[in-house]
Amino acid sequence: MSPDSPIFKTATELSADLTAGKISSVELTRAMIERVETVDEKVHAFLHLDQEDALAQAKASDERRSKGECLSPLDGIPVGLKDVISVKDQPLTAASKILENYRSPYDATVTVKLKEAGAVVAGRLNLDEFAMGSSTENSAYGPTRNPWDLERVPGGSSGGSSAAVAAREVPLSLGSDTGGSIRQPASLCGVVGMKPTYGMVSRYGLAAFASSLDQIGPFSTTVEDAALLLETISGHDPLDSTSFPKDIPSYSGELKNPAQPGVIGLPKEFFGPGMDDEVRAKVDQTIEHYRSLGYQTKEVSLPSTDLSIPVYYVIATAEASSNLARYDGIRYTSRSERAQNAIDVYAKSRGEGFGSEVKRRCLLGAYGLSSGYYDAYYLRAQKARTLIRQDFERVFKEVDAVLTPTAPTPAFKFGEKSEDPISMYLSDIYTISTNLAGLPGISVPCGFTQSGLPVGMQLIGQAFEESKLLNIAHAYDRDHLYGRQAPNL
């Protein structure tokens, strides 16, 4: 593949090329389809790609452009979606067998926004079934492989979305993040991934995992591109009661006026044991770079950090056990052929249709809410969640952002953690508390290990201060652009 190929360009560059007439959206989309045909056999980031539909959208974009009716900087640029985001008349499997034959009769709000911006909404991207997992090994349709090392996981749950961007199959994609499901795979695949503040991006049309934690966010190769995609999908949505009424500035525009270097907090609880040495070295270099840019760094404390994993799993599984009750073999999910009566339909369809991690979490969630255990688990976890939120509120009185590694290790091998739920759960240790506090977090590539595996650092920002967070992330990213390095495939 020629290094000049459009697939190696950022969305920002492609937008300029489309405007300058150097390339058409149809050409770009064709290049993308070709790339998927070449590399996805190895990577398996895609669950489905409707080529005809993608090319029709690209053609419509070119026609608009020829009439001078370009809709946005993203007009004509392909964006892949994690297969939990509804697109009218397209499949939505959530990587589960139970939704094998389902086609969504409606568009998610983010899909509407992308279509209104003229983006080519193309491809259904792989994930851990119902977004439950940290490796994309839990997909009923086979795992996605890390484009940097096909023996290793891409992270998860949005592993298809991160791998597709890393493998240059799409310039941009969307994922969802409940406990790190955007940031952790971004880190493991060497791309940028961002979870916005809870309520910034509508969840309408996102197959829910844990409603109070889920948030849709962008994947890209640069922070600049992440800003471009985020500003397109953000904004208040009357169809989502948890969507926050806030005006959305032009994040990409605001990157052009960098803010004065501020204060970066380094939470001591995050830099303890369990962190891989190479990860630590890369994060230390990142901190040094910020210092060289004039940022102050400061050790801070988030004392409730060790609670975050139990709190997260109690809350997330409880909500999930209820959210996933609708997949029952009655109205739109596959029905077990062994079912003799209505009760059978439920137990057998769900027993056959769900994979092991989904079953495990539904059981755990039902247990935590069941009679006699609610106060000990769910209610207690909600109270502990308050303590975690308060930790961050306190810290953000002193700092502009908190910097941590995104994941404790680089990409791990297939099967390494899949038999031990707790060690898998621990791979989200640095990302989970952000979701519990509702805060925005971004993972930015910060180098490679000696064996060539990407490492990511995470910046956590104040609620609804996406612009500031992107600015701080961009200050580092524009000097390194690790995300622009492409793996050999």
Partner: protein, 492 residues
């Protein structure tokens, strides 16, 4: 031994909002199956609920109407259980912070006879909460069919204390509750359409004791008479069981209206672990004083208060008020008519006898129509309150006899013509023209000199023969008062 039943009711009332509780697709009864659905109703992946403000306001209105304490903050909880009529397999409901607590419903027990007012008392309420309705299952031999049109409609659950003791009280409670809710514009409360549904919790204990017996829940009480019969049957069943020494099991039983008995429903031992937790997709509701005050201003007069006012201020007989006050539309009609008519009592009688008869006949005919039309209401019927008042005033002024009026009314109802239209059309103007009457009276005297003589001779009753002749000659259209005066003048 004498026994006392202890009965509490859970009444579900569908609110008459345009759209559903948590999404803006339409509501309605009798639509083709599965035509009132959307992603939220069907519980599709990604669908999210958004509250219906009007449903909350209507619930506040019910709470105020029934004297409940309105919550400052109420929230939404998920009640988790699997059933094919419930798309998400959880119902959004209110568990520990309902919108209303406490309250009471005034009931009237049957009097000695229909003309006598019965005893009144208050039935205490526990709470009222708002939730979403489920779809409708139809059972067939081999399988069942599900229609989700009803799913997601706003449903108010009104829970009474175990404060009733007889089928009559239950009947009185439901009647009173329904009248109040209909009057307040909350719901049509049509049980046939499932807009009002009722479950009863029944236990029995020896009279004079205070401990509660084992509680049995009765479901499928789908008509008002079904409620009365089902409750009556279950009380008898429990008393018989106690007398026979059989244990009463705490269970749910189903009322079979055709066979008229209750049978136990199969219950799983864990059916009640609903795993309630706050719905993370919804924000709580805050209800401030200003909102409550605004709603309070729109409250209608309670039916029993209205009845007392009619009796006290207008001197209406009890029987008329009891017929009127069960129907707020009839009351509205009556009040409009009586403001224009000269006699409140006569107006009430015309409304509860003649108007009601015509309305029920007209609506009965409609049942056989191909398409079910909207029922004709007092307001939509062809006889306006003004027209009825005109009729009553003509009678009061002696310009129309009661008999003729009674004959004309059905025609007014059928054609929409006013009484004056019909009088003109039929040449029924009551003959008050003195000259014409005088001529007819003179003829009558000439034709029946015998009667004239007798009257002159002091036999007062003899004048009636002459009056009869005049009336016959005028085909009943002469004003009797004028005829009487004229005859007396001519005979003196």
């Amino acid at each position: 031994m004498e026994y006392e039943a202890v009965i509490g009711l859970e009444v579900h009332v569908q609110l008459n909002t345009r759209s559903k509780m948590f999404t803006r697709v339409g509501t309605g009864f009798g639509q083709p199956p599965n035509t009132l659905t959307d992603p939220v109703v069907l519980g599709l992946p990604g669908a999210l609920p958004v509250m219906n403000r009007d449903a909350i306001e209507k619930s506040i209105k019910v709470g105020l109407l029934l004297g409940c304490k309105i919550a400052e903050v109420c929230k939404w909880d998920r009640k988790n259980y699997f059933y094919p009529d419930m798309p998400k397999n959880y119902q959004i409901s209110q568990f520990d912070q309902p919108i209303c607590e406490g309250g009471e419903v005034e009931i009237e027990m049957p009097g000695e006879n229909p003309a006598k007012m019965g005893a009144h008392r208050m039935v205490e309420l526990t709470r009222i909460h708002l939730e979403e309705d489920v779809g409708k299952l139809t059972h067939y031999e081999q399988d069942s069919l599900v229609d989700y049109n009803r799913a997601g409609s706003p449903l108010l659950e009104i829970v009474s204390e175990p404060d009733m003791h007889s089928p009559d009280e239950v009947f009185a409670y439901l009647t009173s509750l329904r009248n109040s809710l209909v009057a307040a514009g909350i719901s049509a409360c049509d049980m046939e359409k499932g807009q009002l549904r009722c479950d009863a919790n029944i236990s029995v204990r020896p009279k004079g004791t205070t401990a509660l017996g084992t509680k049995v829940e009765i479901k499928n009480l789908n008509t008002i008479s079904g409620v009365r019969n089902g409750v009556e049957y279950e009380i008898r069943r429990q008393i018989r069981a106690i007398e026979e020494g059989t244990e009463i099991i705490q269970e749910t039983r189903r009322w079979n209206p055709e066979q008229k008995y209750t049978t136990p429903m199969r219950t799983k031992e864990m059916a009640h672990d609903y795993r309630y937790f706050p719905d993370p997709d919804l924000m709580p509701v805050k209800i401030d004083e200003a909102w409550i005050d605004r709603v309070a201003k729109e409250l209608p007069e309670k039916p029993f208060d209205k009845q007392r006012r009619y009796q006290e201020e207008m001197n209406l007989p009890y029987s008329a008020t009891s017929s009127l006050c069960g129907d707020h539309l009839l009351c509205a009609y009556f009040e409009e008519a009586t403001a224009l008519a000269k006699s409140p009592t006569k107006t009430a009688n015309w409304v509860v006898n003649d108007l009601l008869r015509e309305l029920s006949q007209a609506n009965k005919v409609d049942e056989f129509a191909e398409e079910s039309n909207e029922a004709i209401t007092p307001q939509s019927c062809p006889v306006s309150p003004q027209s009825l008042a005109e009729l009553i005033n003509l009678i009061e002024d002696g310009k129309l006899t009661n008999n003729v009026a009674k004959e004309l009314f059905p025609e007014m109802f059928a054609t929409g013509k006013t009484v004056s239209d019909l009088i003109k059309e039929k040449g029924l103007d009551q003959k008050s023209d003195d000259g014409e009457i005088e001529g007819i009276c003179a003829d009558a005297i000439a034709n029946d000199s015998d009667a004239a003589e007798k009257f002159r001779g002091g036999k007062e009753g003899a004048i009636n023969a002459l009056k009869g002749a005049v009336m016959k000659a005028t085909r009943g259209q002469a004003n009797p008062k004028v005829v009487d005066e004229t005859l007396r003048r001519l005979l003196s």
